[in-house]
Symmetry: C2
Subunit: 352 residues, 2 copies
């Protein structure tokens, strides 16, 4: 009943010391398990801690060995996409080798979240960031510029127009084109593309690849070959159901998808509509997530070297973090594009 309702101020080590009738140093000693404290004193301190609900500030404590924990922040767009798990795993492997720990957060396609997250990570003193940025209308890149101002190295794993920054990615236009061309060369003429979410530049790049495949043949590209689906199982399923119902009379013979999740969703829709894959419709995914190979009809897809991307991104980042400390030297931006490759499995078949 004693202790008055203190104002919202933080409880500090001094409060505890005062309450327990000892000095700050003693409390600190208890906190850090130094063996040097008499048992009765220790007990009193512990009691005070409990009583006041004291929580030591890591920030203050850590100051002396700031290098104790090296960390890298990874900012993704959707956690429920296995794509990011692989990126993480690749980054983690390299990071661990160098004594870094990787922290993940997800913007979940929300631009405000992305801003907040990047700020937060910077405030938490991560040593560098790997970011999969959202494509944004308002082009508010302030959080990335802030990073530059604060001199915190970062590498993108999807391009941001109008920003000089390190990037590790795949040539999506080329890969998407290759996938589409594979279909065309197989004799497919009515092909459509289930495109990704609007907030992704990858979406546009993959559409562009699709388009270019056409321009290299005598087939005509038409806008209505692009069907905006999204990035998730559900998106592929729902759009698939809707599209193939609507185009019942004249369905396409092949679909390239934004990613594997969409492809799998689409396959479910087709299955449900009684349309056979690949007999009636060929399907190509993108990413080559682990499960693609595990489906009863293994998915033809574009393999993105996800683990390698994560690893490369981490390498580049760590080089910047550590190199930068040496001299103000290697400030030149690096842009690394890895090779994506079509993996033909059973969800596609040539028409001729």
């Amino acid at each position: 009943m004693p202790s008055e309702a203190s104002t919202q101020k933080r409880v500090t080590i001094s409060d505890v010391a005062r309450y327990a009738g000892v000095s700050n140093a003693t409390v600190s000693a208890v906190l850090n398990n130094k063996g040097t404290v008499k048992d009765s004193t220790r007990r009193r301190v512990l009691e005070a801690i409990e009583k006041l609900n004291y929580r030591p500030s890591g920030a203050a404590r850590r100051r002396l060995q700031p290098t104790l924990h090296r960390t890298i922040g990874l900012v993704v767009k959707e956690v429920d996409n296995p794509y990011f798990a692989d990126i993480f795993l690749g980054a983690r492997a390299v990071a661990n080798q160098h004594g870094y720990t990787v922290l993940i957060t997800s913007s979940e396609s929300d631009f405000t979240s992305e801003h907040r997250i990047v700020d937060l990570l910077a405030d938490k003193d991560v040593d560098g960031l790997i970011i999969n940025p959202l494509l944004e209308e308002q082009a508010d890149l302030s959080h990335l510029f802030e990073l530059k101002r604060r001199n915190i190295p970062f590498v993108l794993i999807e391009n941001v127009l109008g920003l000089q920054a390190n990037i590790v990615d795949v040539d999506n236009v080329a890969a998407s084109k290759e996938a589409t061309r594979y279909l065309i060369e197989g004799g497919h003429e009515r092909i459509i593309h289930f495109a990704g979410p609007r907030y992704s530049l990858h979406t546009e790049e993959r559409i562009e690849g699709f388009r270019r495949a056409f321009s290299e043949t005598n087939l005509i590209f038409r806008e209505d070959m692009i069907v905006y689906a999204g990035a998730r199982l559900k998106d592929g399923y729902e759009k698939g159901l809707a599209y193939f119902q609507e185009h019942r009379d004249n369905p396409p013979t092949a679909v390239t998808c934004y990613n594997d999740l969409v492809a799998i969703g689409l396959m479910r829709a087709l299955h449900q509509l009684g349309i056979k894959v690949p007999d009636q419709v060929s399907i190509i995914g993108y990413d080559d997530i682990a499960i693609a190979e595990y489906l009863p009809i293994p998915l033809t897809t574009v393999r993105v070297p996800k683990t390698e991307m994560g690893a490369k991104a981490a390498e580049l980042l760590i080089r910047q973090i550590e190199g930068a400390n040496g001299r103000g030297g290697s400030d030149a931006v690096e842009r690394i594009f890895l090779q994506a490759q079509l993996v033909v499995r059973n969800s596609t078949r040539p028409l001729k």
Copy 2:
């Protein structure tokens, strides 16, 4: 060529100030975009920052508004399991409502990692933790006790024996029993269980449920009904291939799996061996990850309310974080067990 190779010491605001011939306060003003700095001065400071590659310490800066960013750390065991994505999403929703951000890290089944991660997160001053702990032989719970000592609230999403701690989980024994009983009641007699990894208590709980289902009938449980597989697609696939090849003459008619990933891997193996699901073998998964429903043979599985678990864990945690600050009151440990439920789809069929 001038600037000597400084010893590895951190570059501080004072270094910048000295280099630019101004005071710390001025540098600080520049850093924080106060409008009060003359342009020529600002430029000089910026140059010094660049030159020295100065990176302001977030820790030091943040001290004044420590409450600016509230954060929760989520420690998982394997990022590439969609199970955790859903936990995260549930936690994130609640967290965001309360102004918290959720940071994820993964121990990847490595106990040393778990320790390091928890330490790190504590040092980074997260306000609380949601942890999916590894089951460990040496029972070294020091990192969790450390959390208690530092008064950082945490909630587990898998039990740790011998520790008084908040927990949100599902009754795995009951759920696993229910799944197995469903098979037995359907007339299956030769049933096996593809068990999870050794580092998981869930593994043991699910085995126990399997065992108990038998003890309630006149069927006999035998140790060789338990096949240790793992937690991943690959595990189910490889063990499945091996097991069903070896037991070609006398295969089981049903398998319950540690989780959906293992089940899907197993189905691939069976498919490859020409064994029909569910005609020849019934399969039950666990978790009900999104894709379970999307398979050509939708998976019968135990639905774990993952999103709800994440949400509940976050609620409980935030209550502890904030309640605790009020008085030293609500220190009582809470243990919440949600309901898991069998969802019958097409990968199982009754034998009678």
